[in-house]
C-alpha cells in the first residue's frame, strides 16, 4: 500500500524524466569536414547549363541542351519548381550595378527550418552538409514549405497518388560517398560554382573579395544567413537587388525550437499540478468511507 507521499514522489519523478529529454536544440550534429558550394555570381553568365545538368541528373525533364539556350525565360523572375531544382535569374544592369545572373536552389542550411518543422523526420540534415529527403516517411503536410526561409521546397500538387516534396538534393547520391560533385558544379563552363569543404570555400570567398575589392561587395551570402548555409554566394551586386531574402544570422529553427521545447519543459509544472489535483481528488473521495 503506497502512501500519499510516496505517490506524489513517484508522480513528480515520472513527469520530470518524461520532460527532461526535450531541451532547447543547439542544431543538428555537423561534421567539421562538411562540404558546400561557393557560387561566384560575377563569373556566372546565365548559360543555364546547370539547369540542364540538374534536370538530367535528377531525371526531372528530358529537354535537349539547346532548349536551355532560350534567354526569354529571364524576363520573369523564376523560383525552383518540382521539375526544376535550380533556376538562373538575370538581373539587368542598373545605375549602381552590372548585369548579374544568379542561381537559385535549396541552400542546404546548417540548421534547417524544414528539418525542424518536419514532424516525421522525412527531411534530415546530413552531418556532411546536404538536407536529404525520404519520400517514404513524408506524409505530405508541407510544413517544410512554410518553414523554409528561402521558400524553396516545391510540392507535386499535380501528382494525385504519390506526391512528393521536391528540392535540390546537393546530388547527395554522389557527394555523400565522395564519388563526384553536384551535376551543376560539374557542368558549369566558367566554374562559377566551386564544390569543396565549407571551411575552405569560406576562405576562398574571403580571399577573392579581399583581392578584388572593386569586383565584389564585401558579403558572403550564406556564411551567416539563417545560421549559415551550405551554398554560399559572392557577388558584385547587393544581394537585396538579386532578390536573396534578407534573413537574420540566426536560424529560424533556433527560435521555434527554443519556444516549443521551452513550453514542453515548462509542462512539468502543469503536469505536477494535475497530478497533485488528481491525488487530492482521490484522497477526498476516500475520506467519507474513512469517516
Amino acid at each position: 500500500m503506497t502512501t500519499r507521499r510516496e505517490f506524489l514522489k513517484i508522480a513528480g519523478v515520472a513527469t520530470t524524466t518524461m520532460v527532461l529529454p526535450a531541451q532547447a536544440s543547439n542544431g543538428p550534429h555537423l561534421d567539421s569536414e562538411r562540404f558546400g558550394v561557393l557560387a561566384d555570381l560575377t563569373l556566372c553568365i546565365g548559360c543555364r547549363k546547370c539547369e540542364w545538368a540538374c534536370a538530367g541528373a535528377n531525371e526531372l525533364s528530358s529537354y535537349p541542351i539547346e532548349y536551355y539556350d532560350d534567354t526569354c525565360v529571364f524576363e520573369k523572375y523564376r523560383r525552383p519548381t518540382t521539375t526544376e531544382y535550380t533556376v538562373v535569374n538575370r538581373f539587368p544592369a542598373s545605375e549602381t550595378s552590372v548585369q548579374t545572373d544568379a542561381k537559385v536552389q535549396c541552400m542546404h542550411c546548417e540548421h534547417p527550418a524544414c528539418v525542424s518543422a518536419c514532424i516525421v523526420g522525412a527531411l534530415q540534415k546530413d552531418p556532411m552538409g546536404p538536407v536529404t529527403y525520404d519520400a517514404d516517411k513524408c506524409i505530405g503536410c508541407r510544413y517544410c514549405m512554410v518553414a523554409c526561409t528561402f521558400q524553396v521546397p516545391a510540392y507535386e500538387y499535380l501528382n494525385a497518388t504519390t506526391p512528393q516534396v521536391r528540392k535540390c538534393t546537393l546530388c547527395s547520391d554522389k557527394t555523400l560517398n565522395g564519388s563526384g560533385k553536384p551535376a551543376c558544379v560539374e557542368i558549369c563552363p566558367r566554374e562559377a560554382l566551386t564544390f569543396g569543404k565549407r571551411s575552405e570555400l569560406l576562405k576562398i570567398a574571403e580571399q577573392r573579395i579581399r583581392r578584388n575589392p572593386d569586383r565584389y561587395i564585401d558579403h558572403v551570402y550564406g556564411e551567416k544567413e539563417a545560421g549559415g548555409t551550405s551554398w554560399m554566394m559572392i557577388s558584385g551586386t547587393d544581394f537585396k537587388e538579386l532578390k536573396f531574402p534578407e534573413v537574420g544570422d540566426e536560424s529560424p529553427a533556433v527560435v521555434t525550437e527554443t519556444i516549443q521545447h521551452g513550453i514542453f519543459r515548462g509542462f512539468s509544472g502543469p503536469l505536477m499540478l494535475l497530478g497533485l489535483l488528481g491525488a487530492t481528488m482521490k484522497a477526498m473521495k476516500k475520506d467519507p468511507s474513512d469517516g
Binding site: 553568365i45 539556350d69 563552363p189 566558367r190 566554374e191 569543404k197 575552405e200 576562398i204
Partner: protein, 373 residues
C-alpha cells in the same frame, strides 16, 4: 652511470615530443590537412615559416608575373583545343588573329597572365589541371580557365553566350559556299549569322521588312563583302550595345533595283524564298544546286530566265528524254510524240500547247499523262 641513462632518456623524450609537435603541425596546417603530398617548400620560400612571417611564394595569377616580350606574329596561328570535348566538337582558336587584336590593348598578357623568368609562356594546361582537385580548389580547372578567358570578351562584344560561337556543333552542316575570307578584307573566323531578321520600319504601308540572311548567303550566293565591305569592326563587336542604323539605300538597293516599296516592305513577316511558291516552277529535285545566275543572267531582273532549258539540255529529244523526271509520265498515246508537238519552238518554259492535235483540250485542265508529284 645513472646520470648517463637519465640523459639518454631525456633526449629520447625530447625527440619524441618534437616528432609529436611536427606531426601535429602537419595535420592541423590547413593545406597539409587537404593534401599530404604537399611539401612545405611548395608554398614557403624560407625554412622556418611562421604565422607572422609565412614567406609564401606568390601565386602566378594574382601577381601577374609576366616577363615576356612577344609580338603578335609569334606563337601558333591556330590552336585546336580538344582536350575536353563532349557535346561539342573541338575549338579552333585563331591565336594569331587574337594576338593581333590584343596588340591594340594589353598585349600578350591580356590572356597569358604568367610566364617564366626567361619569357617562355607555358601553355594553359601546364598549370590548370583537367580536373581540379581539393588542393587546387581555388584555381579553375582547364575547362574553367578556357571559358573564363574566352567568354569575358565574347560576351561583351557578341552579347551572346551561345556555345556554338566557339564550339562547332557535331551535327551541323557548314554551308560549303560560305566564304569567310573576304570580310573587311581580312581573314575572319567563321560567323554564325542569324538566319533571318525582321526589321520594323516607320513606313506606314508596310512597316515590316524581313531579311533572310541565310537565303542571301546560301541560296543567292552572296559574298560577305557584297554587303559588308567596309564595315567597321564595331558594327558587330560593339561594346556600346546600340543597334546600328541600317542604310537600306546602300545595302539593299545596290542589288534590288525595284521601285516597288512593297517588294521588301510588308505588313507581316515574309517566309524565306521558295522558287516554287513565288514562280510556280519547282527547283526540286534537279535544280536546287544550280546558281541563280545560270538561268537569270540579267542583273537586277529575275522576272524571266535569260537562259533556256535546252541551253544546257542540248540532247533532249523524244527518243532519249525520259519525261518521267519532270513529274509527268506520258500516256501511251503521247509517248511517240516529238518534243515540238507540244513544246512549240522547243521552249520548255512555256506552257505546252494541246491545240495542235486536240480541239477542245487545254493544258493543264487535261494532261497528256499522269502527274505523280
Amino acid at each position: 652511470m645513472f646520470k648517463q641513462i637519465f640523459l639518454i632518456f631525456l633526449l629520447l623524450v625530447t625527440a619524441a615530443f618534437g616528432q609529436l609537435v611536427d606531426k601535429d603541425h602537419a595535420t592541423t596546417h590547413p593545406e597539409r590537412s587537404v593534401n599530404t603530398c604537399l611539401e612545405c617548400k611548395d608554398c614557403h620560400t624560407c625554412d622556418n615559416p611562421t604565422r607572422e612571417a609565412p614567406c609564401l611564394t606568390s601565386c602566378p595569377r594574382h601577381s601577374h608575373h609576366f616577363y615576356g616580350q612577344h609580338t603578335s606574329g609569334e606563337g601558333p596561328d591556330v590552336v585546336i583545343i580538344d582536350q575536353l570535348k563532349n557535346h561539342y566538337g573541338p575549338v579552333a582558336f585563331a591565336h594569331r588573329l587574337h594576338s593581333a587584336m590584343s596588340e591594340m590593348t594589353g598585349g600578350c598578357n591580356n590572356c597569358h597572365h604568367y610566364s617564366e623568368k626567361d619569357g617562355v609562356i607555358p601553355s594553359c594546361k601546364e598549370c590548370h589541371l583537367e580536373e581540379s582537385d581539393d588542393l587546387s580548389i581555388s584555381m579553375p580547372s582547364l575547362k574553367g580557365a578556357y571559358h573564363r578567358q574566352c567568354i569575358n570578351c565574347h560576351r561583351d562584344w557578341a552579347h551572346d553566350n551561345a556555345c556554338s560561337f566557339c564550339h562547332e556543333p557535331t551535327d551541323s552542316e557548314i554551308p560549303e559556299n560560305l566564304d569567310t575570307t573576304d570580310i573587311v578584307g581580312v581573314p575572319h573566323p567563321r560567323i554564325q549569322a542569324t538566319s533571318s531578321y525582321n526589321y520594323v520600319t516607320s513606313y506606314e504601308d508596310g512597316p515590316i521588312v524581313t531579311f533572310h540572311h541565310d537565303d542571301h548567303v546560301t541560296l543567292f550566293g552572296g559574298q560577305c563583302s557584297d554587303c559588308h565591305k567596309g564595315d567597321s569592326c564595331s558594327r558587330c563587336h560593339d561594346e556600346t550595345k546600340q543597334v546600328q542604323q541600317i542604310n537600306h539605300l546602300t545595302s539593299c538597293c545596290s542589288c534590288h533595283q525595284e521601285r516597288d516599296c512593297l517588294f521588301c516592305h510588308s505588313t507581316q513577316p515574309k517566309p524565306p524564298f521558295q522558287h516554287r511558291l513565288t514562280t510556280g516552277w519547282d527547283l526540286e529535285p534537279y535544280h536546287t544546286k544550280t546558281a541563280c545566275k545560270t538561268c537569270h543572267n540579267n542583273p537586277g531582273s529575275f522576272k524571266t530566265p535569260s537562259a533556256h532549258c535546252n541551253d544546257c539540255h542540248i540532247h533532249w529529244d523524244s527518243g532519249s528524254f525520259d519525261h518521267k523526271i519532270t513529274g509527268l509520265v506520258l500516256s501511251e498515246d503521247h509517248l511517240d510524240n516529238d518534243c515540238v508537238d507540244c513544246h512549240s519552238d522547243r521552249n520548255f518554259e512555256l506552257q505546252p500547247e494541246c491545240s495542235e492535235c486536240h480541239d477542245e483540250i487545254t493544258y493543264p485542265e487535261e494532261l497528256p499523262g499522269e502527274k505523280f508529284r
